[in-house]
Subunit: 425 residues, 2 copies
């Protein structure tokens, strides 16, 4: 890869998510060369992907060009590439655009959807981890309603209007809320010749409550809100099979549904080339010590979702969400600067800022450290926090404008099938 | 096709562009059933596609859901479908989702890119007539610069940074201006390790002036503006071949360019099934009389780009742009209502509101009926007119916000490769 050699040590960061971007930003003006690599030329604000999928926000408003983040920083380089392997002996990464030597390597590759080995579900269900996936889901939802108009077969029509969300975490809950808002405000007007009451939104949750990483009161309230919105909630049920039409579970429950959204799990997006013992099996995350150093290596780090730092409070690693990634990125920058300036390193300590989820219009649940609240105020807090977590003034302004418009007008105007998802005969 | 039968005559409108939308809007609350058919579920504001292609606007801000246009109008139906043929004997249209009987048929299918039979150019060049095409071009432009970083072959790198725009009409001129602004403000910062001065923007125009449907002073000024922005202008030259790398012309001039944008001509997007003598050969438009009635039929109409109404002032038909389409859509609604209420029909008379084109920041040319002007004021007029021609308050607000932001910050933030265009090895 075509990066000039300098006398500075080279830090290669793989991944431009929250962790990688925060690290890069905090390494500026140091005696380091920084190369950031991502398979996209933009950073994705994943927490709002579900609003793209449901026609509430344009995709471009939650994506931010990575080159803009690092522009005007001397010694910073970005390369659009996919890393296929790392060679820790030769201190090289191998990518689709060539090899690159590193002095320090930081793996910040995030997470990907975990199908737990079920290739049929992987093939037929929809995921929502990237902008194109969310756009595919947006197209599919709308194409389903267009197709529902065409069939006189009632079973088929109902299947086209039946949405099964597997997984009751924040993604599943927020998507269900947004679909329910579409059902209430948009679809009956857009499709007056369909009986939209027949549209079903189902959440199938393996555990015994939704939002099981949040407080019990948050779970309860979220369920209340969803039930009030007409969402069907199934707990203690596992989806075991899906062939594009029939959803099977480990119980008597089954569905006929044209759309299954798989939000039941994520795993680390690990890279090839690390010793196997670095990887913690189940969630496929990379074991790191309290300095985010990958166990067994001196100059390889992992941060964010892909890193598993086992602590007393988090024996299975920190939650795979934005906050630990942001904090680890920032913290690793501190430690790297400490290392090159011969100062003592500090172990990473996660500051839990809490968790929140929104459930449609005017409703959210928020768990902060000392206080928990739900309802309208929580919803405003949710919006405020998400708005200010977005990177870029323009993105914030466009998202804000859309939210205000959608709120006042009860609308979602980006219900556009820009690239159809279904293959037409 | 599943449309209920009523006692009202059924008007089938094929195409949701300016003409089709204006017709539909003006037929509301009449004793008519209106079925609007389009292959997309959204209306495209084509005049701003070049801003999508150059990262200045998000695609969703210039697209508007057609269902929203016609919602709450009784007796209105929309179907997402492609019309393959019309059967004027049986008064039916044949689509990919079935057949539909009509009492009145209105063909408002617009125009498509005219390659004048050159299949190689069609295969290798980019067009900019639809949202996906513009997004493909946006991806390709950005991918070219990413790839230019990777090659040490100077010739190849220059070809990747060489843009050939074929056609010096408004589309070609506006795109060239936008590319020149990218070259000035964005690309040198995004790609500090490339010599962006090597980027070439070329307009190849077959005639002896740019914007040849506008006044001579507009042409001259547009050329001045473009030259000032560093755009190379070649007049009286025809591109005759392109193989994805080498551009051949009918003169000694040739280019090595990874990107050719074909903006050299459009033709009517006609439908199969009309008698051949209805079609005017060269531009493939449908001959209509002064009531937009297709010659030889009593109940088949054509409006907008696809219609060719030969008048004294426009013997080859009206210009293929938004204004005639909007006016014909409105006017045909008037005549249709007149017909069902037994009032006299009025022939269509085109009110030429003038033409305008923008050439980068602060520069535009405007020809109005009585006055012509160029420069900053023209640029504001251009923006004002385009902003208020957009359908939908949200779209206007988002476009306005982007323009203000881009203007103040000298920026274009939607430089995102959401769906890569090039096939990667």
């Amino acid at each position: 890869m075509n990066i000039p050699k300098t006398s500075f040590p080279r830090v290669v960061i793989v991944g431009g998510g929250f962790a990688g971007i925060m690290l890069a930003k905090n390494l500026k003006n140091q005696e380091l060369q920084v190369v950031l690599i991502d398979k996209n030329n933009y950073h994705t604000f994943q927490p709002l992907l579900y609003q793209v999928a449901t026609g509430g926000l344009e995709p471009d408003s939650i994506a931010f060009p990575i080159r803009k983040v690092i522009k005007d920083i001397p010694n910073f380089y970005f390369r659009l590439a996919e890393v296929s392997e790392i060679d820790t002996n030769k201190r090289k990464i191998i990518t689709n655009i060539g090899k690159l030597k590193y002095d320090y390597l930081v793996i910040a590759t995030g997470s990907k959807t975990n199908y737990f080995g079920n290739t049929k579900i992987e093939k037929f269900s929809m995921a929502m981890k990237s902008v194109p996936q969310s756009l595919n889901l947006r197209s599919l939802i709308l194409e389903n309603f267009e197709d529902a108009l065409l069939t006189s077969n009632l079973e088929e029509r109902n299947a086209l209007m039946n949405f099964v969300i597997v997984g009751g975490g924040p993604t599943g809950v927020e998507l269900a809320g947004a679909l329910a808002e579409m059902k209430k405000g948009i679809l009956p007007k857009d499709y007056p010749d369909l009986d939209i009451r027949q549209m079903q939104i189902n959440i199938v949750q393996g555990g015994n409550r939704l939002l099981n990483t949040m407080s019990e009161i948050a779970s309860e309230k979220a369920e209340d809100f969803l039930i009030h919105l007409g969402v069907n909630i199934y707990k203690n049920v596992h989806v075991v099979d899906y062939d594009g039409y029939k959803v099977d579970t480990n119980t008597d429950l089954n569905f006929e549904a044209a759309t299954v959204i798989w939000a039941a799990g994520v795993k680390g997006a690990t890279v090839n080339g690390l010793q196997n013992e670095c990887i913690i099996e189940r969630a496929e995350r990379i074991k790191v010590d309290e300095f985010n150093k990958v166990k067994g290596y001196k100059n390889v780090f992992a941060i964010g979702d892909v890193a598993c730092m086992s602590t007393n409070q988090y024996p299975k690693g920190h939650p795979m969400m934005a906050q630990p990634a942001i904090q680890q990125g920032k913290h690793l920058a501190y430690n790297m600067i400490a290392e090159i300036t011969n100062k003592p390193l500090k172990p990473f300590i996660y500051k839990d800022k809490g968790a929140m989820a929104t459930i449609g219009r005017n409703k959210a649940v928020v768990d902060l450290k000392k206080i928990r609240f739900q309802g309208v105020f929580a919803w405003f807090v949710w919006m405020f926090v998400h708005l200010f977590s977005l990177i870029g003034f323009r993105n914030r302004a466009v998202v804000f404008l859309n939210w205000v418009y959608n709120y006042i007008r009860f609308d979602r105007e980006t219900r556009l099938i820009i690239r159809p998802f279904k293959k037409k005969p």
